[in-house]
């Protein structure tokens, strides 16, 4: 995948962050979405280690040793930032105050199941806050490369790995396409520039609906 396609995926996900939202950006690709959010947009970034109103990342020489985000990056406060304990932080999550949670994934299924915390026998560092973030945000978006390093699909009919949350993903952003997960199954919404449907079908491990009208490109 070209870095260009990745940038367009990040930019596309950023476009769904609307004014007024409270948003949690997961570790990895979701965090990178931030670079594509319009600077003046009124939005509150939440970090599960106890921050609402996360500000820009700072270089180590300017960092406050006591102010990191959940991914360990040294971040800053902005006017209106608030700090709180971990119970309050997850009260925000579980009570539905996150308008949007963007998460990475190992696998996403056509029914909205998400697997992103454990690969039995290979990778089991613990789930951190992923379970709550995936289950309780009002909208859950997954942002990931369309296929794994070996070219295998990560969008599947059913997840094969232990689940993070069952049926809570609303939208998937990849370097190839944007899908919505609907009562009717996987729905293709947009397709990346330079990707065609045949290619997309081959790289996707679940059937999906294609709209009759022209597909927007991103």
């Amino acid at each position: 995948m070209s870095s260009n396609a990745k940038e367009r995926m990040l930019k596309r996900a950023a476009a769904d962050i609307a004014p007024g939202m409270t948003v949690n950006l997961g570790i990895g690709l979701p965090t990178e979405v931030l670079q594509h959010v319009e600077p003046g947009l009124p939005v509150c970034l939440h970090s599960e280690n106890g921050i609402a109103g996360v500000g820009p990342v700072l270089s180590p020489d300017k960092a406050d040793r006591n102010l990191i985000d959940a991914g360990g990056a040294y971040v800053s406060a902005i006017p209106g930032t608030a700090f709180f304990d971990s119970a309050v932080s997850f009260a925000i999550v579980r009570s539905g105050r996150l308008d949007l949670s963007l998460l990475g994934a190992f696998e996403v299924a056509a029914n909205g199941d998400l697997a992103n915390w454990k690969i039995p026998g290979k990778f089991s560092p613990g789930m951190g806050g992923a379970i709550e973030l995936a289950q309780k945000a009002r909208r859950v978006g997954v942002i990931m490369m369309h296929t794994d390093r070996r070219g295998n699909p990560k969008i599947l009919d059913r997840c094969t790995l232990p689940l993070t949350a069952r049926g809570h993903v609303n939208r998937i952003y990849t370097d190839m396409a944007v899908f919505d997960i609907t009562a009717d199954g996987l729905q293709l919404r947009e397709i990346a520039l330079g990707t065609d449907l045949t290619e997309l079908r081959a790289a996707t491990g679940a059937p999906f609906h294609v709209p009759d009208q022209d597909l927007p490109r991103f």
Binding site: V37, P42, C44, H46, P79, F84, A91, R97, K136
Partner: protein, 230 residues
């Protein structure tokens, strides 16, 4: 990045409260009671309300205005001993009163605000408080299952607020306010003082604006907020 602005007018904020709504009211006695929001609720007059408040205030103030105006169907509270109207209306069957031990009331509200379904406690075991609550066996002990207490609206009194809804409370006026702000579908705050974003230090914010829907600035502070002369 800038934080959303949630300032609104008291009329519009309260107009969302319709007949039959459940409404949490902050406060323990006078401190922290959102008298101006309650006064506007009386002015707009929705009826058949379920009111959730630690106490029923005293004659001629706060909850008493709603009672006297016939807007309350049900009161969930810990103590109404200072309000003879509430006692009378309860005894006459005009209002239904559910008494909840004060700490259990606080915790049921917080449980809703923390997005949980209920909790298990041994408070009240073997007393009339136990009635109607399922018993749960845990680790060889017996507890009672208490349910989360949610509401459609929470009316909150803060000392200071910024436009995003970050709040700080004064002295014992904190009480149920931050808990109720977390537990309602829509939370409306009246603030004695609006301050610019950033004027409340991030460490000094008592409740994050993420829980708040509308912030109303009080332009006057009626006498009811003052020291009661007995």
């Amino acid at each position: 990045m800038t934080l959303p602005d949630k300032r609104g007018t008291i009329e519009e904020a309260i107009s969302a409260i319709g007949d039959g709504a459940s409404v949490m009211l902050g406060g323990f006695g006078v401190p922290g009671t959102p008298f101006c929001l309650i006064r506007e609720l009386v002015r707009q007059g929705p009826r058949n309300l379920t009111v959730i408040k630690n106490d029923a205030n005293e004659a001629g103030m706060g909850v008493d205005w709603l009672l006297e105006n016939g807007q309350v169907a049900r009161l969930i509270t810990s103590h109404i001993g200072l309000n003879p109207t509430a006692i009378r209306m309860m005894n006459e069957g005009v209002i239904e009163v559910e008494f909840v031990p004060q700490g259990i009331l606080a915790e049921r509200i917080r449980t809703a605000g923390a997005g949980m379904m209920g909790f298990v406690t041994d408070i009240g075991l073997g007393t009339p408080i136990e009635e109607g609550k399922p018993r749960i066996a845990m680790d060889g002990r017996t507890g009672l299952l208490e349910t989360a207490l949610r509401a459609d609206f929470a009316l909150i009194h803060a000392d200071r607020a910024d436009a995003f809804g970050n709040l700080s409370f004064s002295a014992s006026a904190r009480n149920f306010n931050p808990l109720m702000a977390m537990a309602a579908r829509k939370t409306i705050v009246e603030a004695e003082r609006m301050v610019p974003l950033g004027a409340l230090l991030p460490e000094h914010v008592h409740l994050s604006g993420t829980f708040i829907d509308t912030v109303v600035e009080l332009t006057e502070l009626p006498e009811v907020y003052g020291v009661i002369q007995r």
